[in-house]
């Protein structure tokens, strides 16, 4: 690869993305602060989707035209790898929150340890996890929690199997068995979609039967923070995989050149690993 480097041509999409993000941010800010601006927010979101579609389409087109060399491929790989690392740190902040609340904040409110003085705030408070009765009576705790061995267990099985089917799809792609790959990838997508449906059912049950809401004190907060952002990531991952399925249908990718597929797979496995953490520390323990 000595010789010349490939430098991509200028593109309109980055600046279009910035405009869409600006619309979305102004809309979201106005909506949150003053209860107006919803339309702008929707326009911004649609704009972002439109830009992402076209920007990626350009990259796919250039890649298919053989414009990218090995060096560009390495840049994409490293870019995706470090992006996933940044996502890991995003979830680390939320897991850190969960552990801090359970290990320190609640026991201290109960009068334990060096910070016993905080117990003076709500002398009747008793620390427990899941926290059913928050310190102040103004915050209503949940009446029940989600049984980990019911829906969450099903979801765990679904996601882990989806990682397995995705790996099988990848193996099939590597030996150019396009049809087998399509089937395994399709199954992965189905498993992911069922996961999201089950998660939706669980949320409805939590809100309607368990009183487990965003407002239900710190337990509700951490529960929805972690599972909610995970759910958003599963949704994104599923969309990416669906795009890969369509690209495969259109004859993209070959056994030795399919980084788009691999990046989608990395992302999916990352989401899967986060779920295992969630299952253990949000639901079971």
């Amino acid at each position: 690869m000595s010789g010349s480097y490939y430098v991509p041509a200028a593109s309109h999409w980055p600046i279009a993305a910035v405009v869409a993000i600006a619309l979305m941010a102004v809309g979201a800010g106005n909506e949150l602060a003053y209860g107006r601006g919803g339309m702008l927010l929707v326009f911004g979101l649609l704009g972002i989707m439109w830009v992402i579609f076209h920007w990626f389409a350009d990259v796919v087109r250039e890649s298919r035209a053989g414009l990218y060399d090995e060096q560009m491929d390495r840049s994409f790989r490293q870019g995706m790898g470090w992006f996933i690392f940044s996502e890991v740190m995003f979830f680390a902040a939320f897991f850190g929150t969960l552990f801090y609340v359970r290990a320190f904040a609640l026991p201290w409110l109960d009068g334990e340890g060096a910070k016993g003085i905080t117990a003076l705030l709500w002398p009747d408070f008793t620390a427990s996890w899941p926290l059913m009765s928050p310190p102040s009576s103004e915050v209503k705790g949940p009446t029940g929690t989600v049984d980990p061995w019911h829906l969450p267990l099903i979801n765990t099985v679904l996601l882990i199997s989806s990682s397995v089917t995705l790996t099988l799809a990848h193996h099939a792609l590597k030996v150019d068995k396009r049809f087998t790959c399509l089937n395994w990838l399709g199954l992965t997508l189905v498993l992911g979609a069922v996961f999201l449906v089950v998660q939706g059912i669980e949320y409805v049950e939590a809100y309607q039967q368990l009183g487990l809401t965003l407002q239900a004190g710190i337990y509700g907060g951490t529960f929805f923070l972690l599972t909610g952002f995970h759910g958003i990531h599963v949704t994104l991952g599923a969309i990416i995989l669906a795009v890969m399925w369509l690209r495969l249908m259109n004859g993209h990718f070959s056994g030795h050149q399919h980084f788009g597929f691999e990046a989608a797979a990395w992302y999916w496995h990352f989401v899967d690993v986060v779920w295992i953490g969630l299952f253990l520390f949000v639901y079971v323990f």
């Binding site: 200028a10 470090w82 995003f90 915050v139």
Partner: protein
């Protein structure tokens, strides 16, 4: 397959060219100009603060507005001035120093830059919203930033998100560039220290900016959706906010100083006409500082009521950082030792950096001592400390870098006489501003107040005078840059006799496209770590 660099199409003309550019030099210039604009916006806010504090009593502005000024000044200087300046220098110089034709992901680069004007437009617009802009300090501690915050806080949160995305993508781009675009033959240990420090900084950015995104997201939920993350009534904890914020915030401090170390490590050898002393130890020291920076965050929170074991742990870890930092300072001094030193403007700023950053470092060690911190906490001593590392520290290094590389960017030397005037006025102004703050702080003057007791009047008057000298003398920087762009003494490819590195092998000014063919790099001859 034939891979050709695509330069066939002419760049778009007019202002569209700047909106669409994927060229690392143009994007670098955009970052630097944006940072310069923000430096003056944040600087005007600082002068409003200092004008109010010139005398005790309320003279010019209301306390509510004063709080918005301290908050915005901090946010703009940290996220809008210092960080984009370093990213701009990285954009310009990293490809030139590693022999790459551009950044690894040029379109992402354009995206990263243009997010910044959006983020800061949004942030500044909050000043005109009902209820005013952010008024809770740049550290935006909950519940000041949640329960008691103005309605515009949601805009503030979104602007932090956008600036954060910009930083993360910029950092990923820098990592990919450094790992992937070096000219054949250049090993990691052959890279210039500016490249090394930026590699480590980029790693810090990718690791901690997402945590900042997480914490502001939790704020958004607390404010708008009734969660209790930072509300003890629901079982949350305002101290949790501080832990999360400073887990981001302390590495952030090093994000703002490591590239400065890199710049100084290039300038000192150039004007001492000696190779850098202890190249390898510089690299290891930088990495050690970065790793340690993840284990010291709670030293910002000693008075919040931490368990004793935590206080001791964070105290000792913080003191430990003085060791690799000391290695760096000693290496710079050893580089100067018996060198043929000349005092051009970049060298003046770099030498002032070493002295003044060390003052800030030493007051940092004082602040690390838990019982002493009980006294210093939230006083002007802290303000003096972090302004010493950020203004005569990071900002001086940025200015040194600008003077050092201006001949490469424009093809002309910056004016030596105006530069020296700028330097001396800056040094006098900055020390007049911040040195007395040590004393007013030790005497007990609290931070973030618009009014103060009479006994602090003298020190504050000196600080305010110094601030205006320093602030106004930065107009000289504008003049120097403007004149240097327009003309002056033509600079050769290598304008500084003692300089080393690939950036000096391309003409001055550097043409739009450089290193379309990878340059020849012989570690035996060209490596800064050669025997």
């Amino acid at each position: 397959m034939q891979m050709q660099t695509e330069h066939a199409h002419e760049p778009p003309r007019g202002w569209m060219r700047w909106l669409l550019t994927t060229n690392h030099k143009e994007i670098g210039s955009l970052y630097l100009l944006f940072s310069l604009a923000m430096l003056f916006v944040g600087g005007i806010m600082a002068l409003i603060i200092r004008a109010e504090l010139f005398q005790p009593g309320l003279q010019l502005i209301q306390p509510e507005f004063f709080n918005q000024m301290t908050t915005m000044h901090g946010l703009i200087m940290v996220f809008g001035a210092v960080m984009p300046a370093f990213v701009g220098l990285a954009n310009w110089m990293i490809p030139l120093q590693i022999g790459a034709p551009d950044m690894a992901l040029p379109r992402l680069n354009n995206f990263s830059f243009w997010l910044l004007p959006i983020a800061f437009g949004l942030l500044l617009s909050t000043l005109w919203m009902e209820g005013g802009g952010p008024n809770f300090g740049w550290t935006f501690y909950a519940p000041l930033s949640t329960t008691y915050a103005p309605p515009s806080t949601s805009f503030f949160i979104l602007s932090i998100h956008i600036a954060g995305i910009s930083s993360i993508l910029g950092a990923i781009n820098i990592i990919a560039t450094i790992f992937n675009m070096r000219t054949p033959g250049m090993r990691l240990m052959d890279m210039s220290l500016f490249v090394w420090t930026w590699l480590i900084t980029a790693f810090l950015l990718v690791a901690v900016m997402p945590v900042l995104a997480g914490v502001v997201t939790m704020m958004l939920l607390d404010i708008n959706f009734g969660t209790s993350f930072f509300n003890a009534a629901g079982g949350g904890d305002p101290v949790l906010f501080q832990h999360l914020f400073w887990f981001f915030g302390h590495p952030e401090v090093y994000i703002m100083i490591l590239p400065a170390f890199g710049i100084v490590s290039l300038i000192v050898p150039t004007f001492a006409r000696k190779r850098l002393f202890g190249y390898r130890s510089m690299v290891y020291a930088t990495a050690s500082i970065a790793i340690l920076s993840f284990t010291v965050w709670a030293h910002h929170m000693f008075t919040v009521g931490l368990p004793l074991a935590a206080q001791l742990f964070f105290m000792y870890m913080t003191m430990l950082i003085a060791v690799p930092t000391g290695v760096k300072v000693f290496n710079w001094i050893a580089t100067l030792f018996r060198g043929s030193i000349s005092f051009e403007v970049p060298m003046l700023f770099a030498l002032a950096f070493i002295v003044q950053f060390t003052i800030g470092g030493l007051s940092g060690v004082m602040l690390a001592i838990v019982p002493a911190d009980y006294q210093y906490h939230d006083t002007y001593f802290v303000v003096a400390h972090f302004h010493y590392v950020l203004v005569p520290g990071a900002l001086f290094a940025i200015i040194a870098g600008v003077y050092y590389w201006l001949p490469k960017w424009t093809g002309f030397y910056p004016s030596e006489s105006l530069g020296k005037l700028h330097f001396w006025l800056s040094v006098i102004g900055v020390n007049l501003t911040f040195f007395p703050m040590h004393f007013s702080g030790l005497a007990g003057m609290p931070r973030r107040i618009p009014d103060y007791a009479l006994q602090f009047a003298d020190f504050n008057m000196v600080s305010s005078l110094g601030a205006f000298i320093f602030g106004l003398s930065q107009i000289l920087l504008l003049i120097v840059i403007y004149r240097c762009v327009k003309g002056g003494k033509p600079a050769p490819a290598k304008p500084w006799e003692g300089a080393e590195g690939l950036e000096w092998t391309v003409p001055s000014p550097a043409p739009l496209h450089t290193f379309e063919q990878p340059p020849v790099f012989d570690p035996q001859r060209d490596s800064p770590s050669r025997a």
